[in-house]
Structure formats: C-alpha cells, structure tokens
Assembly symmetry: C2
Homo-oligomer: 171 residues x 2
C-alpha cells in the first residue's frame, strides 16, 4: 500500500481550540441524551469554522432508510447546503465516534482536513468499520497526509454508547 | 495493514450475468448521453437483484450541493428506500466508473458483496479517489474479502468520459 500518495509531510498535531472542545462536548451530550430516549448506539457530528458552528447532525440511517446517512455525512451535507458550496476547506469535522471509512472519504470530498472525535476505534466493540484491517492512520497515509486528526477527546463519557453492540453498527 | 480481517477466503471471480451486462451497458449509455448534453465526467450506477433492476441513479453532487451524493450512494439509497430495508444482501452494484472509497464502504454498509464496473482506476486520470495509495484490492483484503468485484467491463466506450479531467472529480 505504500505508494506515491503517502509522500506528503505529516501535518502538525491537532490541538483542539476552546470552541472545538465545547462543540464536541455538546454533540456528545446530545448523543447521550438520544441514547437515553432511544437506546444506544447513537452518533452525532458537527462542522465548525473558527468559533462558528455551521452544522450539527445525528445519524439518520434508520430515519431515512439510507445506509449512507451517518452523522458525519449528514453534517457535511447540511454545512455545504448552508454555505452554498461543496468545498469546506478550513472547517473542522467533530464526531462523537471515530468516523468510518465512508465518512472519512466524504470528509475529504468536502476538502475538510481537520478532524476531532471522542470515542476511538481501539476502545470500541467490533462492527463500526468496513475495512477492518486498515486503521485511520493507514487511511491518512494513503491520502498523502491530506488531513490531521485527534481522537479520544472526552472519550470516557461516550464509550458506554458504543459498547452495547448493535449488530448493524449504524443506528 | 495485514491484520486479522484479511483472513477471509478469496471470493469466486465475478462472471457477469446477461442482465448485469445489459444494465451496465445501459447505464454507460446514459452517462454518455448526459456528458453529451452537460459535459464530462458523468457517473451512473444501478442496483440489480437477479434480472430485476431495483434502482438506477446518476451523480447528484452538484444538483444537491452534497459532496456525498455520488451515483453509487444515490442508487443504494434509492434501492433501500424502494425495498424498505437497508440490507441489500444478494444485490449487485453496477457503476460506469470504479467506485471511490466512500462508495465502496457505503456498498458494504448495505451488505452488497458483488460489484461490476466499467472504467477502472488504472485507466483514469488522477483525482477520482481520496486514499490514493490504496487500490480496490487493498480495500477488499482489508474487508476480509467481504465483496467480489470485476472492473473494465465495456471500459473503452466510457473512458473518454473520465479522461477530460474535472478537478473536483465529482460531477
């Protein structure tokens, strides 16, 4: 897998800003509230630009009967619609749980290059990813280090959401 | 990247059925017609079950201002909606062009394990993929050989669609 595209320089480590920490904490609260009412797992995401929250979303897979409507995908779509453009360069994607491969690629189609999430894959049960032998570091390298990421921010609080295993991993 | 999940047995090679060849040919015709009217590239996809076409779709990224609405994603969503379930096991995904990583993962969220496409990545220009150092074989192995695929069916006819390079690769 190590071919030309992984030759890019490593991006600087991600140090969350205060607005990013705040928004991530809020979407995690939201996921916890959703799980209380509807059961776990629940997934939430947001798009930030500086200290402005552009979009916030939850997983809509079941509600729409569309396997692709993960929280991150819905948030990206909402942000693009709100801004009237598909290029979200300079924005941050926040997620209550490490984005799957579909969502990571969608993030890059939107040219987002900064990602912060709470629950990390290595802390989860099985079933939340499709290309299991590749981790997010492999995908970042395979993108030529086109994005920087930080996982585990506020993880302990949301982990109970993702431990009771939903077989489909997509609720 | 070679960890446990790639331990599954290799699936049998994909030999397209007559209905699959016919539907693939038709969506390629459609992409060619769209490009005549609107310019290239144009992407189309379909979902088949046996000889029944469940859904047919084109890329809707520009039309919806949603970076995730690639033809494959739209076709999967349409099929799931039509059938009233997100599990499309036993269906075939057909595409005029090799699906990107986002669409491959979406295909697996829908439990589709059979994929046939026309234009192959190695025949295209750059810009249609996000994790460029990984090819579809890497992703299939990383999924534990959870799907079988065949690319290049009727490729020559559609290649002109994907050679004139659109920078965004998503029209």
């Amino acid at each position: 897998m190590r071919r030309g595209a992984d030759a890019g320089p490593m991006p600087d480590p991600v140090i969350p800003t205060a607005p990013e920490r705040q928004a991530l904490s809020e979407i995690c609260d939201w996921a916890l509230r959703l799980a209380e009412g509807e059961g776990a797992p629940k997934f939430t995401a947001a798009i930030l630009h500086g200290d402005a929250e552009i979009a916030r979303a939850r997983n809509e897979v079941a509600a729409t009967c569309d396997p692709s409507r993960h929280a991150e995908i819905v948030a990206i779509a909402a942000a693009a619609r709100r801004l009237g453009r598909r290029d979200l360069s300079g924005h941050t994607l926040l997620s209550s749980c490490q984005p799957c491969e579909m969502c990571l690629a969608a993030m890059r189609w939107a040219r987002i290059d900064r990602l912060i999430f709470a629950a990390r894959r290595e802390s989860l049960g099985a079933g939340f990813f499709q290309f299991g032998a590749l981790d997010i570091g492999d995908l970042a390298r395979a993108s030529g280090h086109a994005f920087a990421y930080l996982g585990g921010v506020g993880e302990a609080r949301v982990l109970p959401l993702y431990r009771p295993q939903d077989e489909s991993g997509d609720a």
